[in-house]
């Protein structure tokens, strides 16, 4: 894998994740207790022996840059190993934001032409999956392909959300449909491409096309050898609130085969703003914890059911956390009830407050396409006052304080902005 350079696309806004991406890029969104979404792709890359990785960022890159650090958390640092963050830069002519995935790579062609690489592996930092890229690269070389697309069989009803490839009996892609209404195949593109480097460089020079899925792949079909490599395993784009919650819940489902520990997903613990190690998790008295994932440094005196807890979460006596994702250092005070919530970092849920309980058929009034399935979002460092009643499909923005709550409650589908 030494002669493959990996380019990880991490510039997406991921706006459908709503308040989870107000202050961070989608790949930096915490996931599964102690990970961030990008950890999966980055660990995949490191675990299969890739030694040169570029990460293309542009949207709110601070927490991402912090998280990547010098790459040593993934053993991507040293004389022969590196991970580089490549933000957009001012071109010779004008200020050039990345206009799409292909454009982002075009603006960084110097990085992929600098070394003596045979292939360029394009990855997306948005997806939750464990995959060994070595067989994909071998497949690409065996077929003497110009481009190989990583493909995943998906249920037919979901094909409309993907680029779909129609392949022949030798896995050659003979046609392509981008987000089709009537799909002719259920092999969806995972946003993973192996390019013959010479072909990629030439194509990016020759054209001004901006996106791999929409432009470069369809163009390649007519002029080059494009193959589809089928991946069978857990894969999910946690790009919507519902999908993000589902993927977290998959961690609790033994049938889902999503076990980050088994495929050695690594994360960077050092980015937390504490210099000592998080102490062990403590269960006090007879806490009732069932079917849940607990990170270090949690303190549980209450009940936790079907939930994913990040490091430092406190669940006080008599509190209930059910079907929820609770991120770092949030506190659920005594007697509070939290159901079907995604709670960002450092949130306080006041005593005897009830959050996420209501009628799920009322979608969020402000963001009906983001929050509609009976989930409630609480933003970073928000405070839900004691005894507050917050319905479902609600959004409480980051930093909301007691005075932002009118009469202490929030009806189903309501939002508090800050």
């Amino acid at each position: 894998m030494r002669d493959v350079v990996a380019v990880l696309m991490a510039g997406g806004v991921g706006s459908r994740l709503n308040i989870l991406v107000r202050h961070r890029a989608k790949p930096a969104v915490p996931f599964g207790g102690m990970y961030r979404i990008i950890d999966f792709t980055l660990s995949n890359a490191a675990n299969c022996g890739l030694s040169r990785v570029a990460i293309l960022t542009q949207y709110k890159p601070l927490s991402l840059m912090d998280h990547i650090g010098d790459g040593s958390a993934w053993d991507l640092s040293g004389r022969t190993r590196s991970v580089k963050i490549l933000p957009p830069k001012t071109g010779e002519k004008d200020w050039d934001w990345y206009k799409g995935t292909a454009d982002a790579v075009r603006q960084n062609l110097d990085f992929i032409t600098r070394g003596d690489y045979k292939e360029v592996l394009i990855l997306s930092g948005d997806h939750i999956y464990c995959m060994d890229y070595a067989p994909l690269v071998r497949f690409h070389r065996d077929r003497k392909a110009h481009v190989t697309v990583g493909m995943l069989p998906v249920p037919w009803e979901e094909t409309q959300h993907f680029g779909v490839g129609i392949v022949d009996h030798r896995d050659r892609v003979i046609d392509w449909q981008e987000k089709p209404r009537a799909a002719r195949s259920n092999l969806a593109s995972m946003g993973i491409y192996v390019f013959d480097r010479k072909y990629l460089v030439r194509t990016l020079h020759e054209t001004k096309e901006e996106d791999f899925g929409q432009h470069i792949i369809p163009k390649a079909l007519s002029e080059a050898k494009v193959y589809g490599y089928s991946f069978h395993g857990y894969w999910r784009d946690a790009g919507t609130i519902q999908a993000y919650w589902d993927a977290n819940m998959d961690l609790l489902d033994p049938e889902s085969v999503l076990t980050p520990g088994l495929c050695t997903v690594r994360t960077n613990h050092a980015t937390e703003r504490m210099y000592y190690d998080r102490p062990p998790t403590r269960v006090v008295d007879r806490a009732e914890v069932t079917n849940s994932l607990l990170s270090p440094d949690c303190t549980v005196l209450g009940r936790v059911q079907n939930s994913v807890l990040s490091p430092g979460v406190k669940v006080e006596k008599g509190a209930l956390v059910k079907d929820s994702v609770v991120m770092h250092d949030s506190v659920i005070r005594s007697g509070a009830r939290v159901e079907r919530c995604i709670i960002d970092k450092e949130v306080i849920i006041g005593r005897k407050a009830a959050v996420g309980i209501g009628n799920p058929s009322v979608p969020n009034a402000t963001y009906p396409t983001h929050v509609y399935s009976g989930l409630t979002l609480v933003g970073k460092r928000a405070l839900v006052p004691d005894n507050a009643l917050v319905g479902t499909n609600c959004i409480i923005s980051s930093g909301v304080q007691e005075e932002d709550f009118r009469n202490g409650s929030l009806q189903d589908g309501q939002t508090i902005e800050k």
Partner: protein, 411 residues
């Protein structure tokens, strides 16, 4: 600030801990669901701004070397910061194993002199406590002491294990040591030595030179009583928690002090650091608690899978407790597996031990502790009464009986 060089005496194994120290010095004995005992003095040093540390080891140092690594977990890497392991070495004339605590320091006197410290802080690697050594150092400088020793009020039990002292005056911080007796048979004086020594270098060099020709070379027994006669020896009083780990019972109790609502050891405020790369702790996923699990007053880190019942116990990363299993009043080291419907009470299991299904170890709330050595696999259905020692690396064939009486040793 004065230039401090710290030395940690981390080489010993302790007979009372038996199989737990077969393959490691006591200083790297796992403690508190995540740590090794030496993490406590190391973290205290870092939190006190002492960043030059020599660690004296001789007994089975491999695990210690791996754990300390290059000192980076405690930020002791840099131009003027280090954590160096100091093994015994062959001198010009003979191969000299350390013949006691004082001898271990004496053999490394070149290392000490090379660093030209203003003060030398000598610690032992086998206590669980939080201390800001700067308070001790300030006290030492303020009193213009030659030697300052850390003391704690003498515990009622096992007083014969300590060096005991009388500290003159009523000062809360400490005072001149007027009398010192090493390990008297009974409760004699008010203060127990914590084996924390702060020396003026010249005083230490002279004392070690003078001791070198003697038969016995221990700080408590041979050095301190002699110094008391001629030099200004002060006692610094420590009032906080002090956890011993010398015997199985002490070690177990110190772990249990981490539990319950207001634990005596408040790890969250102690700011302890460990080497998260050791046994790849940092790569463990969060702990999975199953649908039928029952948890009560327990401590665990990442990488565990808990499907059974865990009561008043401490679980290190990678421990698996299967369905129907009960773990009570126990300490399970890294990657221990408790199979279905096994029952483990008042037991310490070493790394990668496997307790077969329907095995019963120990008895409820009484009886001596049992110990299961590393990588031993206890066959299904075996009954083991309290106080049994099961040696490391045993497999099914080594268990000739299906029932072991209290206090038996399985080899």
């Amino acid at each position: 600030m004065a230039k401090i060089l710290a030395l940690i005496l981390a080489g010993g194994r302790v007979d009372e801990l038996d199989v737990l120290t077969y393959f490691r010095p006591k200083s790297v004995l796992p403690f508190g669901a995540l740590y090794r005992i030496i993490d406590f003095p190391m973290s205290n040093l870092m939190n006190s701004g002492v960043e030059k540390v020599g660690i004296l080891s001789q007994y089975r140092p491999l695990r210690l070397i791996g754990h300390i690594a290059n000192g980076q977990p405690w930020d002791m890497v840099g131009r003027d910061r280090f954590a160096t392991i100091l093994p015994p070495f062959k001198g010009r004339e003979a191969s000299d194993w350390y013949k006691g605590t004082a001898d271990a320091v004496y053999q490394n006197i070149d290392f000490i002199k090379m660093n030209q410290p203003d003060l030398i802080l000598i610690l032992s690697g086998d206590h669980i406590y939080k201390m800001d050594y700067r308070a001790l150092i300030d006290f030492h400088l303020e009193k213009k002491a030659d030697v300052t020793i850390g003391f704690t009020p003498l515990p009622k039990e096992g007083a014969n294990r300590f060096g005991q002292a009388t500290i003159a005056g009523e000062d809360r911080k400490g005072g001149r040591v007027t009398r010192y007796v090493e390990k008297p048979k009974r409760e004699l004086l008010d203060w127990a030595s914590l084996t924390i020594y702060l020396f003026k270098p010249r005083i230490l060099y002279e004392a070690l030179e003078a001791n070198a020709t003697k038969e016995s070379h221990e700080f408590g027994k041979d050095i301190i009583p002699v110094l008391l006669e001629k030099h200004k020896v002060f006692g610094f009083k420590h009032y906080g928690y002090w956890g011993y780990t010398r015997t199985l019972d002490e070690y177990w109790q110190t772990n249990m002090d981490l539990l319950e609502k207001s634990p005596r050891i408040d790890l969250a405020s102690w700011q302890v650091m460990t080497n998260m790369a050791d046994r790849n702790i940092r790569d463990c996923q969060p702990t999975i608690v199953g649908s039928a699990a029952m948890l009560e007053d327990s401590l665990f880190y990442s990488g565990c899978t808990i499907k059974g019942t865990v009561i008043r116990s401490v679980l290190f990363p990678g421990v698996i407790v299967e369905e129907g299993a009960v773990v009570k009043d126990s300490i399970l080291f890294f990657d221990t597996v408790i199979k279905k419907e096994a029952q483990v009470i008042r037991t310490i299991t070493d790394i990668e031990a496997v307790v077969g299904s329907r095995v019963k170890i120990g008895e409820d709330s009484s009886g001596a502790l049992s110990v299961v050595g590393t990588r031993t696999s206890i066959p299904e259905g075996t009954i083991i009464h309290h106080g049994v020692t099961v040696h490391p690396y045993l497999n099914g064939g080594c268990f000739s009986k299906s029932d072991y009486a209290p206090g038996e040793v399985v080899k």
